[in-house]
Amino acid sequence: MRAHPLSSALLLALGLAAASPAHAHDYSVGPLKIGHPWSRATPGGAKVAGGYLTVTNTGTEPERLTGGTIEAAGRGELHTMSMEGGVMKMAPLPDGLEIAPGQTVTLAPSGNHLMFLDLKTPLKKGERVKGALRFERAGTVPVEFAVESLAAKAPEEKPAAHDHSGHDHGH
């Protein structure tokens, strides 16, 4: 009895995917470069998660990130977070984020981010979850979010030397 060629290919693909779960991954869509979309493992019963990434507009026309979500969530919204006098401030960004030509927009835990709501299944460390980003011009762009550890304040492969999480450098 021989193994079906397709199934061995599938096993190989699964093995490869499992071997490199936390590696940086990037996407190019027209003039847009999307850098390492990631999220964080969720605590038991959690209904929300955050989504983080970078987008660079290498084109000559302004673009606008208007939202994004993952399949495991009911919906996603763009939010902004800031610290003011020890208080965490949150606000939705209903108009999205403009990405001027040559500009990079960063979504990160300590600032602008995607908030995934109505989570149906927990996110587990090491997995990749399917999702999509919405742009004004580029439309819907499918991406995968790498799930980092529950404690992750930044994607894992970034060097930990610059540990100023929680501080706003005001650039």
């Binding site: 964080r40 038991g44 835990p109 529950l150």
Partner: protein, 211 residues
């Protein structure tokens, strides 16, 4: 071109006097507000401006009564389970810190009080807190109980509506260090690295032990 070093101009001096006066006024305001908040029946100590007694539902079942914590320093912080960014990372970070402190023989318990008691029931808290060290206990209660404890700890809280009819909460992120008498001993600084935070915990545990 040597000019004599001159004393501050009258205008500058008036400026600093004004600043001093503003500080004095602010201080008077703080003291006045503190005094105004104080008389509330069962408040035992007039000195404990931040903090106060609580009796809340535990994520480990049953209730936690702050009276039972007498003689042991503890940590308190506020959050809610539908908080995507800082709450879970703070819980994970603090958990690692407390486990490290535990490994060197230190025993400090932390209490994570939800500011969203309507959604964060005891069952929700139980499931959520199981993802973190058992040195952190989740607490919930009635909206009135939560309002009371947040007020006692001077935790700021604001409900922010989201487009879908949902809401999120803006709140104080400080981790309160409470001494063995239930008095506020200062904020625990998790951002400056665990070495410093461990020093803070050791001092918290050592303080008042000899008395």
């Amino acid at each position: 071109m040597a000019t004599d070093p001159r004393p501050p101009s009258p205008a500058a001096r008036r400026g600093s006097t004004l600043i001093l006066a503003a500080f004095a006024l602010a201080l008077v305001g703080i003291v006045a507000a503190t005094v105004a908040f104080l008389p509330r029946g069962d408040r035992p100590s007039a000195l404990s401006v931040i903090g106060g007694p609580f009796r809340l539902d535990s994520s480990k079942g049953g209730v936690v009564d702050s009276q039972a914590l007498k003689g042991k320093p503890f940590l308190v912080f506020f959050g809610f389970t539908q908080c995507p960014n800082i709450c879970p990372t703070t819980l994970a970070d603090l958990g690692t810190l407390l486990d490290t402190f535990g490994a060197e023989g230190g025993d400090v318990q932390a209490y994570y009080i939800t500011l969203d008691p309507e959604r964060d029931t005891q069952a929700v808290m139980q499931e959520y807190m199981a993802s973190f060290t058992d040195r952190i206990t989740g607490l919930t209660g009635t909206p009135q109980q939560i309002e009371r404890v947040a007020r006692d700890y001077r935790a700021s809280l604001k409900r922010v509506p989201l487009p879908g009819g949902d809401y999120t909460l803006e709140h104080t992120l400080m981790v309160y260090m409470m001494d063995r008498n239930g008095g506020f001993a200062g904020p625990l600084d998790l951002n400056a690295g665990h070495a410093l935070a461990l020093k803070q915990l050791r001092k918290l545990v050592a303080d008042g032990r000899s008395t």
